[in-house]
Symmetry: C2
Subunit: 158 residues, 2 copies
């Protein structure tokens, strides 16, 4: 796998809907899988496997990281989950629930925003014109310096 995920996103808007997706793929719905999904639904942004494994810092029972990785990979293969790289360090996983998300990261302040793809359609058109590529910013974010940091002359993260 270069970078991309294999299947189109699956829109499971609720925990139960996600459970159904798992079952409908012929996969088993174990306690571990339920917890992973629950953590993903409870999160406000993409999570590292580590953070899921610690049950969002104790909010949920702890899991084996290896199992978390295995399940995230499984979920990714059926389009339920995607992962992004927000800078160096561990990848971050999120549900594709309300459709794909694309990311924008300020390298100066470290702030990351998730956007619905429609907001980047002009960017996509410009990329297409310049390179022929049909671009997607869901695996690697658009990296740059945000307006605020630019004004304050910030260039790199502390």
């Amino acid at each position: 796998m270069t970078v991309s995920s294999l299947r189109s996103p699956v829109h499971a808007d609720t925990l139960d809907a996600a459970f159904d997706v798992v079952r409908s793929e012929g996969l088993r719905l174990s306690a571990t899988r339920r917890m992973v999904l629950q953590a993903l639904f409870a999160a406000d942004g993409p999570l590292t496997a580590e953070r899921i494994a610690t049950g969002l810092d104790g909010r949920f029972p702890p899991l084996e990281v290896a199992s978390v990785y295995r399940n995230l990979e499984t979920f990714e293969s059926i389009g339920l989950v995607r992962h992004v790289h927000l800078g160096h360090g561990a990848g971050r996983y999120a549900l594709t629930r309300a459709g794909e998300r694309e990311y924008v990261l300020c390298e100066a302040c470290g702030d990351a925003r998730a956007l619905p793809p429609a907001e980047l359609d002009d960017v996509r058109a410009a990329v297409r014109a310049a390179t022929g590529l049909d671009a997607r910013f869901s695996h690697f974010p658009i990296v740059g310096v945000c307006a605020t940091c630019r004004e304050e002359g910030r260039r790199a993260h502390p």
Copy 2:
């Protein structure tokens, strides 16, 4: 460090010019450093530290990977070198010699292209309009599907 490099690019178009840059920064020009730079100059694209350490598969004497990493980091800190992430796996390092480069990657065939920033100015303008960010595609590439792969219906890398 989030993602970015610290200093503006240094244009050393020849090996000797690069040596001078190293010296002029008050750094020592060791045999190892000379070899790393030589490998980078001999390369056609960005290299992994591993590949530099093996002397481009035997074309040059082998080096310690740890030293290679240390030197690449040093060179990066003075703007002589930058590294990109082309998909998963090891980062790839290249000279900034002829100015910054930005990257475009097809996630279906794995093909990566390096472009002079000017070719992406329209993209940058679109990103600015959509997000306020001043974007750089030199650390994370623009990822998407190229025209050829799109026509052939390819979606993910073998």
